[in-house]
Amino acid sequence: MAEGLGVRWAGRRGGQGLRERAIESLIHLAGLSAIGLVLLIFIFLLREGIPTFKEVPLTALFSIRWYPIEAIYGLAPLVYGSLLVTAIALIIAVPLGMTTAIYLGEMAPDWLRDILKPTIEILAGIPSIVLGFLGWVALAPLIQRAGAPTGLTAFTGGLILAYMALPTIISIAEDAIDAVPKIYRDGALAIGATDWQTIHRVVLPAARSGLVTAVMLGIGRAVGETMAVLMVTGNAANIPLGTQMLFEPVRTMTATIASEMGEVARGSAHYHVLFTIAIVLFLITFTINSIAARIIGRGGGRGGQRG
């Protein structure tokens, strides 16, 4: 602001000063509007979701059956479905994403890096509905042929979600590895460490907070995804346990909201319960993002010391 004033007086151009002030306040307004929007969304969710707790007993919400047209509102299978699909996605995407990031950051020659990075960006740009369609048409029959009773399973959903979370995980992990000062690597090599020892003992621990963030944001991406899982998980509100649990259908929270929101009468118990699911989802992603933000905050501090 002080700088702005200085410029205005030095230039003695009243019109320009006015314009600058207008632009400044527009930018302010844009920033504030985002906050307002978030608050409005949150208030709206609470307002529509909270009546649930008057209409449906709390114990009913924790039951294991979801069948809203008979007023059975157990959220357990939906939360379980979302967590199972997300867990499968992470088990696949984290090792794959981390190794890709290490390869890109530490080993790949420049020309290969120049090809791989844009390719990963293209993967990020594929709309989820296209991946869902691919999963439904191509992946599900493969999984069925491999011996599952049906191709529409938690595993199919997890596999598709893994591919969606990969670009996020790779790019953030690679950024974290890239941010480790060169001096660390030089130091390690100078005292006789091999390349692998340098990566394993020096680079990865130094980039740890960034790597954790990559995983956290990957989780956020997977939990919130809707259309693809709606198409490939079979949508059975089921709690599969035991050895075959990966190859049974599940119903996620997002798919439930997407497929039932259009059906409910506004103000009905079912309508309010769907908003309660949205609140649960909001809280899950919010928690994940808060943890990630906390970890990045710490990492930033250390980065300052390093720099």
Partner: protein, 324 residues
Amino acid sequence: MAACDPRARPIAGFLGGSFFGGSFLGGSFLACLLLAAFLLAGLLACGPRGETQPGTGPEAGTSDRAIQNKGSDTLVNLALAWAEAYRRIRPDVTIAITGGGTGTGIAALINNTVDIANASRRMKESEIAQARANGIEPTERAVAVDALAVIVNPGNPVSQMTIGQLSDLFTGRITNWEGVGGRDAPVVLVSREINSGTHVYFLEEVIRGGDKENKSLFASQTLLMPSSVGITSEIGRNPNAIGYDGLGYVTEHEKVLAVARRDGDPYILPSVATATDGSYPLSRDLFMYTAGAPQGEIAAYLDWVVGGDGQDIVRKLGFVPLPN
């Protein structure tokens, strides 16, 4: 807000990436909140059947005479064919058709955002009460009859079943095809989503055998498909799948089962003839609901639909015309 963390290199062309890489890496609480909200807002907006689009309310509709017609996916093809034919004789009347399922159409009627709701089942008492609470008196009109076909993969040796056996399969009491005279293989149940009138009809008439006291439900492993195509494609590729769909939607890639009311009764295949004479046990009326008694153009349209020309189209599309 630290907008530019030196480590953050946003990925071009990926909104999420630039968002994560930019303001989010700044570690700001608000950015975090914002991100979570966007995930949520995005998913809510993703709902395939949003209820309120601006300009589609009945007020907007009647002024330029576009009749809003929404609901049952069983009826949607029929409704499209009717609207198309009606346009030829009344080019000045526009009818906008949307599917989404019976529940969707009835919800829209209750919320007063359609003129005509298509339904493949009767409205429930609770729904009528909700409508009345909103000041709407739903008026029912039967417009066609549909036979519900039970379908399996063409490779499945089973070709007939009683309603009792179907109920045992769909409630999960029998989980292997051997239990109904088939191969030793697990049964994969396929159903429409719960917003489908066909789903509710199947629940009441097959799973519960028409018994109001019976509180049986679909087995929780039942695959719930968002569309008729979802059902036919799963049945077409899965030798162990069984599902149901309106007769008008069955293709040569599925095998239709003959159904008997109970053990000892004849097994009947669904067709226009067996649905009309009532020998096929799973046929039902399809309805159009209006808010209050239909008036003006809407009444004229409904009269045409149940009249001779409208019912000819019913026959052409593989549905069953209303009995005279």
